[in-house]
Symmetry: D4
Subunit: 219 residues, 8 copies
């Protein structure tokens, strides 16, 4: 298990991360961490490793692209002084190409996406104990689907950035792909993007596996 | 893993089970299984054992006692023809002694509790492949606390019934007790009864461990 | 133009047809015909052929399958004595296989779908001046997609029924396929099923072309 | 068809244009173009000319007069750099004379109306590929009706401005007049101003006819 | 002044009468008489003739035609044993011809209107001290307007019935016509049917003048 | 009739005046004048003297005392340039002594009341054609009632100010007193302050009688 | 202190008693006893005499008269088998004479009031350990006020019934009268009927004094 | 009785004090003092000592700690110039250690608590006639419970401060402890913190006893 006692874990992203978290800081009583994968990660850490006292803070905001993360990076990441940081961004960066194809200014190109992500990561990494980069995803089995294809390209950019800086890389798209061998996308998300509890569990399990979580612990 | 391919799992109980499930049957799209431990069990089964295609139905109703279960046993359990059945009842049976002490007709005695539970179980067990009985609980560290003490007695009754009929017994109270070595009750539930996500995860993990769930699977 | 002066046109279906229509009869002031393709058909008939005085009644109900249509066929179709009838059903018949895969009783098999549709059509056709059968659809470009594939099969059943009884056949799936050469599904429907105005216009145009609507009229 | 590939079409006006559009810019997912004639124009362009990729932006605001347009002309028209622009204004300019007759400061005189409209048009026309001026209207058959009469005068002013600058002129009043040969005003609008879907279709058809839309296309 | 001390005055009609009155009987505290002309009549009787102690009951129901009145005549008029009765019905009987022209079953013909009205009046008149028949109206200055014209014909039927049975006849249309010499219809009602306070005052004044109300009294 | 053609009448006061009027200026469509006595005055002027085209503006604000009027006198009275002005203030000035007896700073003394009222009136009178001062009131028959007694004293102050400046004086308390010979206070206002329609009619009639309104006109 | 250990106290009445209590039985968690004097009595009994374990049930219903009590006497009093019963009824019996003076059928005469009350009391008294009759009241200092006067007469009837059957009599009107030596009615109730917390405390104190409550106890 | 005629009593604290009071000052009509113990104190003072005319102001704010009191001490206490002041703070100071154990910055240490409280008291005491310090509490019978234990320590700090400055000290925890001999915590508060009416009465009675309230007065 890579997270040490007393670690502060900040998880940032878009609506998949947000899920009704508290503002301005997504933690504390009354479902401060929201109801998505962040709350599952938090609950699974707390119940299997109660002695570690890991503090999880949800900083997701619905609709965000990497450009939006950039605008709030100082207040929403750096000022929080996280020990561990996870980032899952890119769904909206890609999606806007497909649901608002004519509104070009809402599209984030692969170049802008990758360079911005790298720049953000470089700003914060020196002060981190651990960094986790998760791919954006589309819950779609067909790799030739246009949006899935572009999402895969952005996921490859995440991988490149992770390798470049030595971060933990989590391929969420690959995890959903495994599920799609057994279930159709509609079982996880009506719009192939916003998951139900089972879909959020896919993300939480992938994240925890990547940081060395021992599932059999405290059983 | 005890649950076989294509099993139908019915989970019945009170508000801890209910958690906003769909009526009359707690399953299907739009959070049909609610947002509590049932949805966590469902999500964990689906993601670790996608090939088993286990169908989970939440039949909890807030405020229920074992007397209420008895009134709806035919329509809400037997008619559903479950393969596996889990029961977690008793919190309200005990609680009313403490928050409505003078309203005697709202109290369920230990005798009524145990005999009714046994009778319900005997009605349905012959047609089941598996039966899981979970104790009621109070998230309270002090075993001398009056309500905790009575809850423990009702939990013992659950154990006796489980042994009598050969059911899987899950000691939820014991699981919360382990957590209370590290955290105060308020971290899991403001009123020591209705858990947040971490508290529901305690229940879900205990249930799954009891039915042989392999946590490292599909990792 | 096939619809004669003073015709009564009843359009029945599921949520795609319904779109907030008035109950029990979907017509009249205050958006009685709803806000979907039925209202577009109605508006296009009224503005291009004001002298025909065609009366359009929306009888769609969200979530309906062909089994549901069967249950309300007498009151909702036959008793209305339509001159023309359009039916667009089948999306939910197929969808439940994919978003509630384990709830088998919510699935309508191809056999039940086709035989029920035929039976309904045969009951009402003798008293009609015209019958239009429209295929169900999934706004998805990949014909190998599992749900699209099954939808196509149900669409073929519609075609067979149409040929058998000599009804006007409208291939809505084919119309959306043409659009998908230019746009991704997300431009028409976030969940690939419930269309925005542009998607409803695709349906309305297909229907009107099939009944000989003269677009250049009254221009 | 006059609109070229990739054109940006801005449609500005009052509540007839607005119809619940998104702010500050009326476009994009979640009914950004509203639910009125703008959304019909958008849907008809998209479905008949998918390859043109025309971008439609609704900039209507309920209650606006030409004086209000003047106040927001820079931010809401010029800054958007439209290729094509349509303007339908004047209903409120006239209406206030009739429903608030004593509140003189809410009345826009014919002189102010015409000169302001001309001035706005002259500011923006040099940078446009096409300009469409539509008349305000009252859905009232009687040309001697006091409000209809004044509306006709404002409509004549629109015509004069259109001729002066060489814009496409669309006589919406004339289109409704044709309809009123067959239907009473109440079929289109309870208050003779805010149209239902059929009324909005009258406007959309008139606009599209004026810009050379080929209705039979892609049929 | 024709109404005697202690009279019970029942006023029945459609939405113009109703105006949010209490159900099942439109009287008593908390605006039981609604907020329309009935409440003005009640307030003017109470303040100018406090000693008469006249009891006013509003029995209007929105959307009603004379056919609806017929269905509730026993419970809503006869059982109340009124001393005085006023009826203002017919707007919806006419209006449906114009806003739902194709839904023929919602239209009340002049014949049905007149004969039903006469029949209702004859049933109740023997037990009344006074009967007031008010015409339906359209706040429209042009007597050649199609709906105004038909409304005038229904008004003439009211006059014939009034003469036949010797009832007090009040020509509400004529009263609004006088107002329309000075104001456009929009000053009284956006849809020319549902009046604002000034429009309700026109009705209340006409009613009171017809029953001999002394305006200068108690001044 | 004292109000001349085209007069602008501003009526200012507290919640009795306000009654849900439009902000910032209480006039125009959609019940801009509110639903209280101001709307009755407006409706009675409009229907009896349509040719005068009198413009009524409601500037009441709930809870106001004379001190509050003073704070908004410039923007809410002087800047409007009224021809006629009516003031009805003082109920809250007195009431606070009785429902918040210990909160001394919420009480307006008779001295402050009278001197402030005089000062306000003197500021605006030179530019007026007519000024109407109405007394505050308590709908209570017993002149020895403590609150009624104090209200009478404030009413006397209104009278003194009216005489001093030559304004029209309207004794609303006296009007309600007449009514209380026949009815108990509860018939007009549950709390003896906020009138129902009949109570507002008492005020409206008193105001109109004071300005020479001819009730029999246009009958 | 007259109430014995384990007594069941039922308090019945109108809106003053009701105050948002739980239905069908006004007791138990979540403010089952409402928020008025019943909850104060309950709280004062519980805190001063915790060992007595007195069970209080609120059976008030807003708007009730003695006639309404009669209709629900069996289910709402007798079936509950109270040890002690308190009744406070009559405010609405009197009030309707004053706020709905013309609706005679809503008035309960003194004769009906007294005879019904006596009959109800006689039905239940044999099975009671204690009966408390409280007068209705009007928070009005002037004994010559018409409504106060009539309320006093109904209060005298309560006294006669209490004497006749040997019940504890509590003169709530007299208690409020004492308060009115120091405060105006508005300090306790805007409408002189529905009290604030201080007004409810007046009632609770009077009731408790009448049953021998020792205020200094457990201090 | 220590409070003199005309005293102004300010009661400050957290949500237990607040209970829906009016802002910015918690007094006056419409439940300005809230619905908790402050309103009970106010009602009991008003009804037993009406002649004293004591003015009670509720300045509680939910969630407050002593650090929050410090931030608003000038505007919310000193500027109000109270004669008597009561303070009940500390529950949140302690609670956050237990329900948000990892969010260290939300915890108020015993040292900060005591020194801040002392400092606040010293600022205001010179201008007071009386000061009452009440302990924070947890409605929990077990003195070894971790949160109860810490709450007791903070309560001891209150006692020390009270002794140091000569303030009236009220041990609310001790009062609840007495109640817990007879009832379980759930009878007073589901979460052992936010009391129902009975729990608020415990606080109100303790406060009043401490200031010499004579319960038998005005009986």
């Amino acid at each position: 298990m890579k997270l040490e006692t007393g670690s502060k874990l900040v998880m940032i992203g878009d609506s998949i991360t947000d899920c009704g978290r508290k503002h301005p800081y997504g933690e504390g009583i009354f479902e401060g961490v929201g109801k998505g994968y962040v709350s599952l990660v938090d609950a699974l850490l707390e119940t299997a490793y109660p002695e570690l006292q890991i503090r999880t803070i949800n900083m997701g905001i619905g609709g965000n692209t990497v450009r939006d993360l950039s605008n709030r990076w100082k207040t929403d990441v750096i000022d929080l002084k996280p020990d561990w940081l996870s980032i899952m961004i890119g769904i909206n960066d890609v999606w806007r190409h497909f649901d608002e194809p004519k509104i070009k200014e809402s599209h984030i190109s692969l170049e802008e996406y990758e360079s911005t992500l790298l720049q953000l990561v470089e700003q914060v990494q020196p002060s981190l104990k651990g960094l986790v980069l998760m791919t954006p995803f589309l819950i779609e089995a067909n790799p030739e689907d246009a949006m899935r294809k572009q999402m895969d390209e952005y996921g490859m950019a995440v991988k490149r950035v992770a390798e470049q800086v030595g971060a933990v890389f989590v391929d969420i798209q690959a995890e959903f792909n495994k599920m799609l061998d057994y279930y159709y996308s509609g079982t996880f998300a009506g719009d192939r993007v916003h998951p139900n509890m089972a879909g959020h569990m896919v993300i939480a399990r992938a994240f925890l596996n990547a940081v060395g979580y021992d599932w059999s612990r405290n059983g």
